[in-house]
């Protein structure tokens, strides 16, 4: 079993922040996994190894990766009827999340190798990296890595002497949270407005250009080379039995902390350890009030919940989700209503407008929050906010954007209700005294 010090995803990063080039990546064991897979493993064996590793999607939903791949129909190999596609979801736009950027800026070849293995497993001949437009540094790193990979025949025709071929291209987007929703992403890359598609059919059956398509998060894909190189058992051991799931996780934390940042740790590390040891605790003069465990679209948790293990199932036991694993901390000198307003403004602005509860409900929520923050709210607004949180929840909308907004809204009003009431009773924001 691992001693918890292994950092397969980040351990080989250069200290100067520059991306590993092809030679450096290969010297660190890079591209051994795809060499091995092409020589010794069938696509089904690659898929089964990933299934056995218990790798779950790191984009936030935690769906088992091997299982996702297995939904691609038509049997094995690239000769099956018609093209298939694999797309790396690099549209990291969850507020508070910055882990995929770190991976791409520092080790773009790891993502390329992950895509190669995924493509081999599902029989895809074409791969895209869908990158958000704001990630210019990552784009440069990926472009250079792609050129190196083509030059060395790690991409292109008959890769490394095998009969497996893969074309890979970077697609630079232009912002917009909806592109991270996988069907919205597929519409976007096809050159359409990024509205979500009805499911079923799922993308694995009918996705990009109407063909079977797998969309995986960057961090998820970066785990795959390590699983194939070292085996599913090794991978499961990385989480040190802290979690039923395998591997490490890139956790992060932002807010009024001594050392905000990101750390690769065994999956199942507690929120308290992240906050107190790795982030160094709260900055001098600031007290802890609560946090969003995995980005903007997760429920608040409080001090009493901090011993929860940060993995997919455990965080649900305290009424939230691990999401992206990048925590956003609320301190006692920041107004919880103002923070909520910032959250809901984001969701309202990013709503694609396709379905009514999201398009109409979120601006209404923003309107009410703005009134409360300005000291113009009324007591019944609080129950209206809770009602909206219920009406924006799963089952009422076309995709997960509005339910994502409902999570911090419902939990925020519940946990910080007294602060909402103080705004309404006092007809002003108690945190705004200094600016008067």
């Amino acid at each position: 079993m691992s001693d918890g010090s292994e950092r397969p995803l980040t351990g080989d990063f250069r200290s100067d922040g520059r991306p590993l080039d092809m030679g450096e990546y290969e010297r660190a064991g890079g591209y051994l996994a795809i060499r091995r897979a092409l020589k010794e493993m069938s696509p089904a064996e690659v898929m089964n190894e990933v299934k056995a590793s218990r790798l779950r999607g790191r984009g936030g939903a935690g769906f088992p990766t091997g299982l996702k791949w297995s939904f691609v129909p038509d049997g094995e190999g690239q000769d099956a009827a018609g093209p298939r596609y694999i797309i790396a979801n690099a549209d990291e736009m969850e507020p508070g999340a910055f882990k995929d950027r770190i991976l791409m800026e520092n080790n773009p070849h790891m993502l390329i190798e992950g895509l190669l293995l995924g493509a081999y497993a599902i029989g895809a001949g074409c791969a895209y990296i869908f990158l958000r437009g704001e990630y210019g540094r990552a784009a440069k790193a990926i472009e250079r890595a792609l050129a190196e990979a083509y030059e060395k025949n790690h991409l292109g025709k008959d890769i490394l002497g095998s009969d497996f071929s893969l074309e890979m291209r970077l697609h630079m987007s232009a912002g917009r949270y909806m592109c991270g929703e996988e069907t919205g992403l597929i519409n976007s890359i096809e050159g359409k407005r990024a509205i979500p598609r009805a499911k079923p059919p799922y993308p694995q059956v009918c996705g990009f250009m109407g063909r079977p398509t797998v969309v995986n998060n960057v961090e998820t894909l970066c785990n795959v080379p390590h699983i194939i190189r070292n085996g599913a058992e090794w991978y499961k051991g990385l989480s040190q039995k802290l979690s039923a799931d395998g591997g490490t996780k890139i956790y992060g934390a932002s807010g009024r902390l001594k050392r905000p940042g990101a750390w690769e740790l065994p999956l199942g590390t507690t929120a308290r350890e992240l906050l107190e040891e790795h982030a160094g605790g709260m900055r001098e003069g600031f007290g802890f009030r609560g946090l969003l465990p995995g980005g903007a679209s997760t429920e608040f948790i409080l001090e009493e919940h901090l011993d929860v293990r940060m993995d997919f199932d455990s965080v649900q036991s305290v009424g939230s989700r691990m999401g992206t694993g990048t925590m956003v901390v609320l301190d006692d000198r920041t107004c919880p209503v103002g923070m909520q307003l910032s959250l809901q403004k984001f969701f309202a602005r990013e709503s694609c407008g396709w379905c009514t509860p999201c398009r109409e409900g979120l601006p209404w929520v923003v309107h009410m929050l703005r009134a409360i923050e300005a000291g113009e709210g009324e007591m019944e607004d609080i129950d209206l906010l809770l009602e909206q949180a219920r009406l924006l929840a799963p089952g009422h909308t076309f995709c997960a954007l509005a339910p994502g907004a409902a999570e911090p809204l419902g939990s925020g009003v519940k946990y910080f209700r007294e602060d909402f009431e103080r705004h309404i009773r006092g007809k002003r924001c108690p945190w705004k005294i200094k600016s008067l």
């Binding site: 910055f98 210019g136 050159g191 407005r193 990048t326 920041t334 984001f346």
Partner: protein
């Protein structure tokens, strides 16, 4: 009408795509790079070039915050107003910038040097508060006076 340079760059960019339409965001970025923003005329020319209708292309162009369908200044300052920045000094930074530049969000300075716009999380939350000027992301802007050194880089 597209210029020769624009046409050449667009053709180069869409080469590897299976369908011309797939290159539409890239093509709009190219004309924006040349013209500063996506004018109605440019939109029609790109639509024609990619065999799309202008409305079809505008449904894409109006969707993305990094594509400008109205005139902007020589440099665009995008200030992150998402939650991680909000919690660590966004309001102070916004207040400083609006006072310093004499404009509010969505406005352009009289000399045409800067446009100020809000933007969603820039993914550098560990160095919040952050802004993006043109295509460069800058974090660690607390206290907000730190932005002065940056502004000098964008004449």
């Amino acid at each position: 009408m597209l210029s020769d340079a624009e046409r050449r760059e667009i053709e180069e960019d869409i080469k590897a795509y299976a369908d011309r339409k797939m290159g539409c965001v890239g093509a709009l970025k190219i004309v924006q790079r040349h013209r500063g923003w996506v004018t109605d005329e440019a939109l029609k020319a790109v639509a024609d070039h990619l065999q799309m209708t202008p409305d079809e292309l505008d449904s894409v162009a109006t969707f993305y915050p990094l594509l400008f369908r109205r005139p902007v200044g020589r440099h665009v300052i995008l200030i992150c107003d998402s939650v991680s920045c909000y919690n660590v000094g966004y309001e102070d930074l916004l207040g400083y910038l609006t006072k310093r530049l004499g404009i509010g969000l969505g406005q352009t300075t009289e000399d045409g040097r800067f446009t100020l716009l809000p933007v969603a999380c820039l993914g550098v939350c560990e160095t919040a508060p952050a802004i993006m000027i043109d295509s460069d992301v800058h974090g660690g802007l607390e206290p907000p006076e730190k932005v002065e050194e940056l502004l000098k880089l964008y004449e």
